[in-house]
Subunit: 319 residues, 2 copies
């Protein structure tokens, strides 16, 4: 069974009634699992996490486009987050039994459908990008809704689907495909952000570390210690255990404890299985890659020191 | 005292008398230390390692150019290694009290002098490159001595110094500046190259690992085990200890021992000091960054498990 995750971001994060009306659209798409949605007032933006069959996902996203077109007028929109559309961006993320290539295909199908039906210009981004300068979303979005009015007339910014004309109220959408991204933080038993920054530098790509890791230090006011806060852009090439063990190795020289770590948002079971396999190997235990989700949760708590972690953090729980 | 390393490669590796006559040129440049030279018959090429004051280095390299011009005719040269000049390439490498920028400057000075005095076309490469397609030496050298006859007439391949005409017998030279590169191998107590390759993949840039590490597996026929064989292109960003500890961490899952490691060629004391500092930290020992070379050697054997290692492997020994 093919499963994708889609994370549409729409440009309303304050008007709860309006958000509710928009989200209600998924009531008619029970085959698609609405994992959660997070509305941010400062950003004035809502991030929706959906998982399900890609064909049914497209139907649901067409309805989402329709309701956003009715509910949102970007001429009246303000907020801290950069945006160019009423739906600003829709990534397709391969979860189960589906390749990146197919996700690219689905993003193209959706872009074509939205362009045809609603006359909204669509840009393909990330893995679906057809031009180098469209790989990075911020590059496409530069100038935002307001600037796009002129930008889109530049032949270099002709949309991949739809008219070379910004939709008057909706704007334009970036649609694409990308790998699952894991938001992962490692707690460090020090309040010295400078030292925690050294751990971040040891592992992040931009300082010479692992290729698919973005990392920085952060001080947690409420908890009274620092964290290495990370995005793992490719958990297959940079598995969680390797990052965790490398930070532990670095922390050793200062005698700091690594008491715990956390996952923000969702994580695929596969990413955890890959890391548990390492610890089972180290401890010479028999490994079952099809172990239950409960057993995965236990293993993650034991070996990866996950705190605030349960089955609902694992995508496969919803499948 | 400014110290650079230069590693000129000249295109003769078979005729021992001729090689001797060429190397003898350094007899007149006693201020420059001839660390060693390695002639390879298959390559038909000799690699010379020199360290010393950069101004005096330039005088020595001018003499080297003069003798190679007299002794080597590339029209008669064959060998397995690609080459475009009687001296094929000269990198300047910062060792002590000198910045990369200055090494770039010295490479420019040398290129201009050689071009002016001998009418030999010179291309600036690596950190000294003035065009993107001249950063990588193989890109400049493509077509080799023979192909350069036409290639050099292309305005895109106009040399940085000297005539747009290949020297009839000498060819052309690539001169530039680059960081010190450490050739480092970690022994793995298995003959299974496949598994050792997994360790290489965990740490090398091309598979998602550390940014400045090139690595692959190799089976050592004579020793009967495998190695992760590496180039460390930036030992400040990817210190030896971190690579060593990461490979140890990966090997743990298979229960493999990491009995030893080795440095091929030379290594700066600074690179070893940076790694010893880690182990001193882990073991809570007082650290003296100005420790003697002998103490560095002892530490490397103890913590980094270097085999076949002595003071003569450390550049600073020669300073």
């Amino acid at each position: 069974m093919k499963i994708v995750e889609c994370v549409p971001n729409f440009s309303e994060g304050r008007d709860q009634a309006k958000i509710k009306r928009i989200i209600n659209v998924f009531e008619n798409h029970k085959e698609i699992k609405l994992v959660n949605y997070e509305a941010d007032g400062d950003y004035n933006r809502t991030v929706v996490t959906l998982i399900g069959d890609p064909d049914k996902m497209i139907d649901a996203l067409m309805d989402l486009t329709n309701i956003c077109l009715k509910e949102i007028d970007l001429n009246k929109h303000t907020g801290e987050h950069a945006r160019m559309g009423a739906i600003d961006v829709i990534p397709f993320i391969p979860i189960s039994d589906i390749k990146m290539k197919e996700c690219v295909k689905y993003s193209e199908i959706l872009a074509e459908k939205i362009a045809d039906k609603y006359d909204i210009p669509c840009f393909l981004y990330a893995e679906a990008a057809r031009k180098d300068d469209r790989v990075n979303l911020p590059n496409i979005r530069k100038g935002e809704f307001e600037g796009m009015k002129e930008k889109i007339k530049d032949p270099n910014w002709k949309p991949d689907f739809g008219p070379s004309k910004r939709h008057d109220t909706f704007g334009s959408i970036a649609i694409g495909a990308r790998d699952f991204l894991i938001a992962y933080n490692i707690d460090v038993a020090t309040d010295d952000e400078k030292i925690t920054n050294r751990f971040a530098k040891a592992i992040r790509q931009s300082s010479g570390g692992y290729q698919y890791v973005q990392a920085g230090p952060v001080y947690l006011e409420n908890r009274g210690h620092t964290q290495v806060t990370m995005n793992i852009l490719n958990y297959k090439k940079n598995p969680i255990y390797r990052i965790f063990e490398t930070v532990k190795m670095e922390a050793k020289r200062y005698g700091f404890d690594i008491p715990s770590a956390e996952i923000v948002g969702l994580v695929p079971k596969d990413a955890l299985i890959r890391s548990l396999r390492y610890y089972y190997g180290v401890n010479n235990l028999e490994f079952d890659k099809d172990m239950s989700i409960d057993k995965v949760v236990d293993g993650c708590k034991k070996y990866l020191k996950f705190r605030d972690f349960d089955a609902k953090k694992i995508i496969d729980y919803f499948l």
